[in-house]
């Protein structure tokens, strides 16, 4: 899809957003360590899922603001809206683009995180882990793209996005961190994670459908 390619080319060319987000994520991990190891030998095992996903969510908030700020700046959004494409297609392309960026960041971040914080090897549970990762990512990106479209048009756009995004993403956060922590701390196969995985799937489906119905309004004028 043309939009997707355009966004990717643009980002790869400047690499602004990606590098900033990756740096942010890595820094956050370091900060987490210092913030939480107050007591000697503190065990962060059961915090791992939480740390990971909080980091990703906040990184996405940064990224979303950027990706839409660019469209707004040169009035490119108008150019986009003039084209004979469905608004929903724009939504899907933007979401896919954001998803790819998030995945790229995660490819770098997850190994580093494992190195820093995860004691036991979870290679055996790699597949469930990746599934959870992907499903949660989709939810974050879909919801984030929809909300960023709205917030980009308001007065205090960067400040607004976290306020409207964070309460909505809590269900995903709960399910994803629960699943991830289980995998990191104790190891769990699909069986134990089934409820959460299905929940994430359900969340994704429901919200993408909701976005389908409302995106026209969110982006139009």
């Amino acid at each position: 899809m043309a939009i997707l390619r355009k966004d990717l080319i643009r980002e790869l060319r400047t690499r602004e957003m990606l590098i900033s987000m990756i740096l942010f994520v890595l820094l956050a991990m370091v900060i987490f360590h210092y913030a939480f190891t107050v007591k000697e030998g503190a065990d962060l095992t059961y915090f791992t899922g939480g740390m990971l996903w909080v980091t990703f969510i906040f990184a996405m908030l940064l990224g979303l603001n950027r990706s839409f700020a660019q469209e707004k700046d040169e009035r490119c959004l108008d150019g986009l809206l003039l084209c004979p494409v469905d608004r929903v297609t724009i939504f899907l392309a933007k979401t896919a683009g954001n998803l790819i960026f998030l995945l790229i960041i995660q490819v770098v971040a997850v190994p580093v995180f494992t190195l820093f914080f995860v004691e036991r090897s979870y290679a055996g549970d790699l597949l469930p882990f990746l599934v959870v990762l992907l499903l949660a990512d989709v939810g974050i990106c879909a919801l984030g793209t929809l909300l960023a479209t709205i917030s980009m048009n308001t007065r205090s756009r960067d400040l607004l996005l976290p306020i409207i995004f964070l309460p909505l993403i809590v269900p995903v956060l709960i399910a994803a961190t629960g699943a991830t922590t289980l995998i990191f701390a104790e190891g769990a196969g699909f069986g134990g994670l089934l409820a959460r995985v299905l929940f994430l799937l359900g969340f994704d489906v429901v919200f993408i459908v909701a976005a389908y119905g409302t995106y026209d309004f969110a982006i139009g004028e």
Binding site: V170, A210, A218
Partner: protein, 227 residues
């Protein structure tokens, strides 16, 4: 019939139902057999408030969809009023919930599913109000608010289910809102309270709509005079 449904009358009716419900709860319904004892009585207000809050948000959802379809700002106004009231009721849920918690378990706060969900609901709909405050243009503000109201309402049950994934902690989730376990006397008191609360909601909606309408008319007059 119109007399019965007019705004002041509604308040009176709501008041009667609520007071009646309260009296019944205290005098008629037996003291709860479980460990909570007398403090369980708050249930008669706490749960109706919660359900009414959700009803308010539900109406906001319908209003949002209606606005997107018709572009008529009246729906936007209804949505705003309902969200504000829903928020108010939600805060009351939290307060009564905390009182109950203190009386029954000795702590002001517990991260149990219901309270947590309502806490998030509060944040959610506060975000709705914040969103409204940063968009100046009327139609656009209404559109964005409507989109958010729809998304928010879908998110509420999601949040509730998600909180069930969380570990239960020290405080067991006791309430069974189904009401199937209730004796007849308790049920009656409960239902009357429910009715009272709902009437109160309707009365408040009407009043707030009228206030908003007046506000708009004043603004219009100001515009015509001020130029």
């Amino acid at each position: 019939m119109k007399q019965l449904v007019s705004a002041p009358a509604l308040f009176v009716e709501a008041g009667i139902c609520l007071v009646a419900g309260l009296l019944l709860a205290f005098l008629y319904a037996p003291v709860d057999a479980s460990s909570m004892g007398f403090s369980q009585k708050i249930f008669f207000y706490h749960v109706p408030i919660a359900e009414t809050a959700l009803v308010a948000f539900g109406i906001a959802l319908v209003a949002a969809i209606a606005y997107l379809r018709t572009q008529n700002l009246k729906w936007d106004r209804l949505g705003l009023v309902c969200v504000r009231l829903g928020l108010l009721f939600s805060l009351l849920v939290m307060v009564t919930g905390m009182i109950w918690g203190k009386a029954a378990w000795g702590v002001w706060w517990a991260w149990e599913p219901r309270l947590t969900t309502f806490l998030l609901v509060c944040f959610l709909y506060i975000a709705y109000l914040v969103l409204r405050s940063v968009v100046e243009e009327e139609q656009r503000r209404a559109t964005y608010a409507a989109v958010f109201a729809i998304i928010a309402f879908i998110d509420v049950p999601m949040t509730f289910f998600a909180t069930r994934f969380l570990p239960e902690g020290l405080h067991p989730v006791v309430i069974t809102t189904g009401g199937t376990g209730m004796e007849a006397s308790m049920l009656v008191s409960f239902l009357i309270s429910m009715l009272g609360m709902t009437l109160l909601l309707v009365a408040l909606i009407r009043r707030d709509l009228a206030v908003e309408d007046l506000k708009d008319r004043v603004a219009d007059l100001k515009n015509t005079i001020g130029g």
